[in-house]
Amino acid sequence: MSPESILAELQTRQLLPPAQAELIRTDEARRPFSLHRELRLLLYLGIVLLSGGLGVLIYQHIDDIGHGVIVAAITGLMLACFAYAARRLQPFTWGEAPRAGFLPDYALLLGCLLFVTLETYLQVQYGLFGSRYGLATVLPAVVFFALAYRFDHRGVLAMGITALATWIGVTIQPLSAFVTNDFWHSRLSTAAIVLGLGLMLAGLLAERYGRKAHFAFTYLSLGSNLLLLAATASLLDFTPGYGSFPPVVLVPLILLVCAALVWYARRSHSYLLLLMGIGYAYVAVTYVLVRLIAATESGEAGFTLLLFYVPLSAAGVVLLFVNIKKILRLK
């Protein structure tokens, strides 16, 4: 419907005084066309292409004359980004800081991406940290967390959490990631579960004590995803490695975390967490059922049970979704 016909409709229903309708009409005619989203998309694409291209260039020209120029360019650009973001810095608050446009946010993002490039390069070329890989990976985590809190930036916070996960992974199994290319093995998955729990706790505490309460969603969604992914992966692993949790622990853990997610989603109206909670819980319950059927060796009867279980359980979940507001007593 055109704005004009909606205005007419509202006025015939006596919902809008004529003067206000005239005001809206003027605004519709005069309002400039917003390029907000398009510009942000271009900026994001530009930043990703730029940092990605520079990240490759620096290694391609390692024995080259232009090499120093590229390193200097990256350093200069990184410093310029940080300087620009710092110049627009808002005073620190534990709440959500007001924004001075979106350019400083993107500058900070580009600065952080270039920081990773530069740090990795210094390690590869000059062995800055030697074989202390833990130190090399914990540094970005520390820097990103500090920047995220000071600049009130959720994107950088997510980068910091990722760096933290890398650090823990490297510290626990320095070489397995390179040798076996199996990230979710035994102790690693256990570490991921513990880290996920820690992140979820950090999110809940941030909200509880009003310390950057708007960071809670980033902590919770990343933490719970890490935890549930690792737990489900080691649950479905046919050859569980030494040191991983047995299913007796994993299944209740998954269900408990899912329940926590649903509880939190109900409070904060976050449907992503609700979907995750129900999805992972469905996988865990189905796993238990299949294992039970396999354990009792019921053969034909077990197969028939599964045949009924899949469509009926799916229909059940659909019904749950449709009536979710009533069940969870959402507004």
């Binding site: 704005p3 909606i6 005001l23 907000h36 990703v48 291209g53 993107y106 449907y271 979907l275 979704f321």
Partner: protein, 401 residues
Amino acid sequence: MSLYAYDPIWPRHEAIQEQATRWHKRGLLSAEQLTAVQAAFPLTFYRPHLFLRIGLFLFTTLGALAGVGFVGMMCQFHFLGMLLLSLAIGAVVLELVVRGKHLYHSGADNALLYLELAGLVTLIFYLVYRQLNQYGYEDVQDPVPGTVLLSVALLFTLVVLLLATLRYADRLVAIATYLNALLLLGNLLLMLPHGTLLLPFALGAASAGAYVWFTRQLRQPERQYYHRCLRLLRGVALGTAYLSVNYWAVREGNAALLPGYVYQSPQIPLAPLFYLFTAGIPLVYLLQGLRRPDRTWLWLGLLTAAFSVFTLRYYRSVLPAPWAATLAGALLTGVAVWATRYLRRPHHGLTAAADEAEDPQLNLESLIVAQTAHSAPTATEAAGVQFGGGHSGGGGATGAY
């Protein structure tokens, strides 16, 4: 039985509420007025949040496919029996849930509709390619472009998809219908002697014609039921108009249509003309998008520009990839930063501020006050006009999921 599966009131009320919410965010409607609008034009259908819709879609698909397997067991996996029985059950379930639960593009009904149509298309191709053969057509296993059989099959699927679009007004089905019509046209052209040569121009002209028609339909209030589809179809029509004369698409398409195995796609006739189209159309789209201004043109301009770059790099290695990425990234970032700073104050009817952002230059307060002074009954409504709700986000720093 009505043509519409959903109540035509729903899209109407939805459009009114969306517009009222936008006005409220810009500070043109008070919270009380918004509530009054919401009460006067209630949304009585069920369409949950995006993530719930995704969940509904996934679990409905899982359940329906498992149900098909169950039906298959009962039919002892007789192909046609299983398909027909599942289609019949699916259609009844779809109609019943839409009517009983008031689902309106809620994920569950989308999933059922897509599965139903996929089944119908399978059925049509099965019947055309397996059953028609027995009545004298030569035995063709795979669909071959430019054959009568494929035209017949595409004609049947077009009819099915068109009816489904008219009834359900689903955006994905609408796009499938449009693409199916273009495929049918292309296939008919290929049956002509010089069809391959005509193909790009005919498809381009058909897309342009479709664009004009969609735009004209969009202006008619009685097409409200289909506005969601039409808005998307406009963009798709612009996209197909570009793709049908894009150099890469024409050259590779031509190579695919040549008989036998072709190692490398040969050069096409009228190549300079297609270079011109490939380079020029994105520019035209972008300029038109900014001049009109029209978001559909703008987005298609961005997408087609990216595709033109791909086309160029596919045939000519202009720069090594890292250098190209770095320079393109620097260029994009530079342009975006410059435009953002330039458009901080609106220029040429364009602005970098978010659409819901309040315009500080609109001095609403004085007007509202003047109006409340001489219209007593509406004073309570206007008194609460909120000058709030402005919001601008940062680079991933804010986010409402």
